[in-house]
Symmetry: C2
Subunit: 499 residues, 2 copies
């Protein structure tokens, strides 16, 4: 096989993988948003079947030949072609470790687990869910073992969400957050609580849907390329730069819940919408690591979305749709309500200050689960104990405890740290961005376009061409420094609560 | 290959085709309901790719061997296995006539045509759509030619929607409808128009959505197995008996439009939901011919949905959701409004009496188009001329004229007659059903379950095991007789308008 033949074969393989990936993504999005509940088993079968074909294509000998041919000539390849070959190699090396039947059975398990989790969460019935979680954990431990038996299994899983990430980085990162943020959290809890009575009024969902449209317009999300659906646990799925899907959720008695879900998912969407046209359909399409993805979503959600200028811009929109509910609310009240800090039960609804503690708890639990130090049966107890110890809250039921997140059900173990890392990256990116862009002028002007343009050039357009480490280095203007994140949080909440 | 080997291979092939069919169906439903508008080209590529695989599997030599082995032993096969082999043969014979590349290009053309049609309809811009229609017609003519050059091309296409159907049946059928119904239509037009002022009030869409839920509950459609979406042109898509999708549309100023769309699509859904469990995943799953499918949807929509007892049952539901809009409306007013007969522009909104004339016009146009007697460029003129001649209405623009239906855009040429045939079958089915079931007692009791149970036993459960002709014979209790349909319409409208 010549290099040219290998490049042609790679292109054909990419087209094949793109088609199956698109179909699988569509089935998944459909399942999470609009499919009827009894549809899960047949969808699981279909997804398992299609995943089996993907497994077959990626692990095929001919695919190995493409990779070997290209990487043997690594020095003469363009940056783009080299990276395509490297990503394919990473995928192939992983899939080759898993027999096709096992892989297909796991895909079907995940489809079923998702449905079981939905029901178990509604009924707060952890026992119904535990056998599925058990099998998901067992699969991931086995996978980690096969990939690199010399490393702690959890480190191997972390690496698949963020290349090179290990407990050696995360242990001190979370220790720093615990040490520095806990005193602030405790101090804040003693201060007078801001007025948030307006949050508990009734915000009809059909009007909240219209509010979503306005928020995405301000963010500059092209609705011709991005649709909005509804689900239990908000998420974003990107098929290509002309087809991205946000799924949000509505609570009639909490207008901010949807607002910040939409701003968060809108951040993910802008990333997927911003990947360069030339990478579409190739292995470089879509976002880089999960931490980089979360750095974007949490950037929009918190650094922009919970800023005072954004609250000023969004207030008239809220008043137009909810004149009675918002009658007494001014920008300062909205700003303080959007930044109300209190130890609470639900990660996705948590304020910026306590958020990373929620993530830290999941990190510790996953590390213990995968390390073999924690049985599935003991997860609720351990979850509740840590919420008591680190956040001082009593978990009343598993629905608001260890069943709240969907991640384990789609097989994502080792993903949670991305949220905290991404949040921390974002602070450095903002500092860097402020040197080039009038960030707050743009927000006050009611359009986030200049912000998205900067992130687009620095991060979005590169897709998966650059590694997470390269993106962090260039977007943060230097190495990652978690103290900047801590300083930002201490500064913001110090001012908000007169500490 | 032994018969047993062939049966095993058939089972495996069915599992493969089921998976690809599911993925294609999901992509299609997604595209028609929630996908953003710029998503069409990439979805078209994916659907073309997956269709290419289906083509490859069905036309494979090994598939021919399965068919030959089974049909050689036809006498010893069970009814189920014989029918599976026959259906596979029919699919294979057709696909074998089309080279894979041509087939894939056509699938992509259809995906694009659908998007172009959506836009062209909104803008009433026939010129933008015509080149796509041209290519769709050319493909269908070529296909008909290849299948059987000895027959008129349109007859060949009709046969693919209803085995054995030709112009020799349809010409006199439509001639009968024209001859018998035109005088009634003209006479009705002279009578006083019933009071329909309430129809033009504002019915907020978020409340209409709740009304949809109630209507489907009365129909007995299990929402755990059937989801409801929204689209431009209502349709139903069934993946299996635990996953059926209805897509409806809402018009704020017309509450009956959604009502009768939902009852119509609910009829399709009940059919798909009623196919026996044992046929799921086999070639016998899903409904029989399009005429049988339309006999079910039009049965619920008109024979039940536009009956006086149904109006009595649905009225309190409407009043509960729309107390002001419906304040002055009693059951008789609703019944008369739901059966308002007037020559009009839009087929899907047409009353029962004029409906078949809309279908007849499409039949004549398609026959001429496919027969080579009508150029694409002349369709709008011819459409408008026939609406003037047969319905006495002036078509103001193509949006409300020849661009109103989606069928040609998804390649369905020869489908329209199914609506009229199905409507006519339904009348005979009702006569037969009334001998076994207290139809109107059930409707008055607010549950259509006994009706669905009868149709379930007689039609739904058989899936594709029985041919359309067999189903008509058994459900109608005798051969098809279009005079019964004409008598029913003349009786109903004679009473409504005191003719």
């Amino acid at each position: 096989m010549t290099v040219n033949e290998a490049l042609n074969a790679l292109k054909e393989l990419e087209a094949t993988l793109r088609a199956y990936g698109h179909a699988l993504g569509c089935l998944n999005y459909d399942g999470e948003t609009v499919a009827p509940r009894n549809s899960a088993p047949a969808r699981g079968e279909t997804m398992a079947f299609l995943s089996g074909i993907v497994h077959e294509k990626v692990t095929a000998e001919s695919t190995g030949e493409i990779i070997d041919t290209l990487l043997a000539d690594r020095e003469n390849l363009s940056h783009v072609d080299r990276r395509r070959a490297e990503i394919l190699k990473k995928n192939r090396d992983e899939l080759t470790l898993i027999p096709a039947n096992e892989y297909m059975a796991y895909q079907q398990l995940l489809a079923e687990a998702m449905q079981v989790w939905h029901d178990a969460k509604l009924a707060s019935d952890y026992a119904a869910y535990a056998p599925y979680l058990d099998r998901i954990i067992a699969y991931n431990r086995r996978l980690a073992q096969r990939k690199d038996a010399s490393k702690p299994a959890y480190d191997v899983l972390l690496d698949s969400y963020e290349e090179g990430l290990t407990h050696a980085t995360l242990d001190p990162f979370f220790a720093l957050l615990r040490r520095e943020l806990t005193p602030v959290i405790l101090e804040v809890a003693k201060r007078p609580r801001p007025d948030t009575a307006f949050l508990n009024r009734r915000y009809p969902i059909h009007l909240q849907r219209r509010f979503t449209d306005r928020v995405l317009e301000i963010m500059g999300v092209s609705r011709d390329d991005c649709a909005v659906g509804e689900t239990e646990h908000p998420f974003t799925e990107g098929f290509n730069r002309h087809d991205v899907r946000i799924a949000t959720h509505y609570h009639e008695e909490n207008v901010l819940s949807n607002l910040y879900s939409v701003v968060h998912e809108g951040g993910h969407a802008l990333y997927e919408l911003g990947v360069a046209e030339e990478y579409q359909g190739t292995l470089l399409s879509g976002g880089s690591s999960m931490s980089i993805h979360e750095s974007q979503s949490r950037f929009y959600e918190n650094l922009i979305g919970r800023s005072r200028p954004f609250c000023e811009v969004i207030l008239p929109e809220l008043k137009a749709l909810f004149p009675e509910q918002m009658a007494s609310v001014d920008a300062e009240t909205l700003y303080r309500a959007a930044n109300l800090s209190q130890p609470s039960l639900i990660r996705t609804e948590a304020d910026e200050l306590t958020y990373s503690i929620h993530v830290m708890i999941r990190y510790e639990l996953e590390k213990a689960m995968i390390g073999g130090d924690l049985d599935t049966a003991d997860i609720p107890g351990e979850w509740n104990r840590m919420y008591r110890e680190y956040l001082g809250v009593e978990v009343p039921d598993d629905r608001r405890g260890c069943l709240q997140d969907s991640h384990w059900s789609f097989g994502a173990i080792g993903y949670f740290p991305s949220y905290a890392l991404g949040s921390a990256y974002g602070v450095q990116m903002l500092e860097r961005m402020e040197k080039d862009v009038d960030v707050w002028g743009a927000v006050r002007g009611g359009s986030l376009k200049p912000i998205t343009a900067w992130l687009g050039e620095t991060i979005h357009r590169h897709g998966q061409l650059l590694t997470p480490a390269e993106l962090v280095e260039s977007a943060c203007g230097g190495p990652f420094d978690p103290h900047r994140y801590v300083d930002y949080l201490k500064g913001k909440y110090g001012m908000l609560y007169n500490l």
